[in-house]
């Protein structure tokens, strides 16, 4: 046993740091900070159609004709964010007559399975356009490259390490998310105040960047970070962790890298008999409701699920031969604040519905999203 520990340990220690991805990139941080402040192009009030900077890609020469079959290789619908996003997507498909057939395959969170799924779709020979939401960036790159050889490909959410897709759709990004929350805390607290940082799990690119940006700003503002804990996204664990911290001392603000467990964290303050401090959550309905009911000082940065709509819109444009923003389509990434909170709270929606879905005007809202 010892030998394995030592051997693996020594090897990993000597080699791993060389390959650790850089999740704290000052250039990317600065770029996203700028994008948050930029005015997007496109129709106002419809952020899923807007784009920040960037060029356009012509698609008329791709030679597609409507109606065409769109295939979607999905990393999974294994969390509420993806459930809301996938609903946006299937509803958006109904708006486009140029999409004759929509085929969806679900990789259930496995890289290996998603590679097989893409190969199956290519072997089946039915697809005219492929949309890919990669499970991880590096692993899916070769499969996406193979797909590019056969048809136009649109990638969204996570990217791939190749320029071959027609466009890569994503909101501003993880640094932006971290910046919005941490700047809010810094503006509300004094130097030296206690901040607890709650994270879901290590290693996930989109979450690591949120943390590094948040940490950078809180450190620069002179906040006292009492701890940065992993909650596994588990309500019970989140509540326990916060309770333990409260036994040891006061907390003036809580920063979270994702909001699904925000209400559990708030309840830890309530049940222990403390006032609820400054909170950074996300756009889940249960958090927004709690915020409104309890009159919190809070902010909800978002990673908008409307990007799932945009992927379909881009596919339809490709079929119709219209130009699309590309090779990167950067969507705006608004935060929900005290000023516009009322606009997003909707008690009819389920607790983990993501309010920044851009779906309120769609035909089957709210039933299709599980609302009453």
């Amino acid at each position: 046993m010892k030998r394995i520990l030592l051997a693996t340990g020594a090897l990993a220690l000597s080699l791993a740091p060389l390959h650790a991805q850089n999740f704290d990139d000052p250039e990317e941080f600065a770029k996203q900070k700028e994008q948050l402040a930029a005015t997007p192009e496109g129709p106002e009030g419809q952020p899923w159609l807007q784009h920040i900077g960037g060029e356009m890609v012509e698609t008329a020469d791709l030679g597609l004709s409507a109606p065409a079959t769109v295939c979607f290789s999905n990393a999974g619908v294994n969390n509420p964010w993806r459930v809301v996003g996938y609903t946006n997507m299937t509803e958006e498909v109904k708006n486009h007559e140029s999409i004759g057939n929509f085929i969806h395959v679900d990789a259930e969170g496995s890289d290996d399975k998603q590679i097989a799924d893409i190969d199956d779709l290519l072997a089946g020979g039915e697809c005219d356009v492929m949309i890919v939401s990669p499970n991880t960036t590096a692993a899916l790159t070769p499969a996406v490259e193979r797909a590019c050889e056969a048809m136009p490909v649109i990638v969204f959410d996570r990217g791939v390490n190749t320029q071959c897709p027609v466009t890569f759709i994503h909101p501003v990004g993880g640094y932006g998310f971290g910046i919005q929350g941490a700047e809010f805390i810094a503006s509300k607290l004094e130097q030296g105040d206690n901040v607890l940082m709650l994270r879901i799990l290590p290693g996930v690119d989109v979450l690591e960047t949120r943390y590094s940006a948040g940490r950078r700003i809180l450190d620069e503002a002179g906040m006292n970070i009492v701890g940065a804990e992993f909650t596994d996204g588990d309500n019970a664990k989140t509540k326990s962790i916060v309770e333990d911290y409260l036994m040891r001392g006061d907390i003036d603000a809580v920063w979270m890298d994702a909001g699904a467990t925000a209400v559990a964290a708030i309840e830890a303050f309530e049940d222990s008999g403390y006032d609820i401090p400054v909170f950074v959550g996300e756009d889940q309905q249960d958090f927004l409701r709690k915020w409104q009911d309890e009159g919190l000082t809070a902010i909800a940065p978002t990673y908008p699920t409307y990007q799932w709509r945009t992927a379909i819109i881009a596919a339809a444009k490709v079929i119709e031969g219209e130009a699309v923003p590309g090779p990167e389509w950067v969507l705006p990434q608004p935060a929900i604040t005290q000023e516009n909170l009322d606009q997003y709270v909707n008690p009819a929606m389920p607790p983990l519905h993501y309010a920044m879905c851009g779906c309120e005007e769609m035909e089957n809202y709210p039933q299709a999203w599980g609302g009453n």
Binding site: N78, P80, G233, D234, M247, R248, S272, L352, H353, G370
Partner: protein, 327 residues
Amino acid sequence: MSDSTARPRAARRRLPRVNPVWLLLAALILAIVFMNPGFVEPTGYMNFLKRAAPLAILAAGQVYVIVSGGFDLSVGSLITLVVVGSSMLTNNDPSATVWVIPLMLALGLGVGAVNGAIVCFLRVPSLIATLGMMITLNGLAFLWSGGAPRGYLPDTFRFFGRELIKDVPLVRFIPVSVIVLVVVVGLLTWLMHRTNLGRQVHAIGDNPVAARLAGVAVNRVRITAFMLSGLSGALAGILLGGFAGVSTDVGTGYELQAITAAVLGGAQLLGGRGSVPAAVGGALALTAIFTLLNFLGLPQPVRQVVQGLILIAAVALAMHRREETGT
């Protein structure tokens, strides 16, 4: 792997030695108190008990299945299904709790009965039967809710897992879940160690053929054991949902933790030996380990390694002692 030499145990065993799980628990608690003196305050130890309650109840139920010679891997998904299902059924209506809770307990019993029937009548080993049930129930929870929780749990439902009884003499307050824990564990202990059912569960785990020849209704007793485990899963789900609210992965990992707790308490896998209080002790010890590692500020990977080492060491030690004493 069952030891063929052991005779059916006499009705009352004398316990000359203290079960090591209690020593482990005492040592862990001392360490926690040393790390964090606040633990001796009611807030400290009551919070601890409140957190341990779902796992302790689960372990108390699991020990029935283990003693009868099987495993129940389905309890984790059952917890998820109970929490998600309750949020769907109560639909924000506080008065619905009155019928939703009994329904969920019945669901637990039902799932246990199906597990037991698959094992007894279809002859599928319990590891596979309950693995299949685990996958199925998880799928059902997602299918029912569409992948994300659909409703909130009303405060009446959350009473059992979240509320405190205040102004209690000596301890200031008692969480409701701790009362539930004491009552359930008391009942399960009595059933296992003071009734005929308990003796029969031990007998079929020890040697099912001999038990059958001795007139034990093997199938009925085994199904009962699975039903008790299912019931404890439903109870744990009600407490967890109450403590922390709805999510679609509340139960993940609880099945292995429950088995670990039972084993830490000296339950013998594949049957014949095990005690409810010791399994509860195992659950408390496991929770204490997690709490301690938390206080030490150790990262998740270290916790995993420690958990793995303790698990192996506990069983290896138990086997060693058993060989020494020749039982």
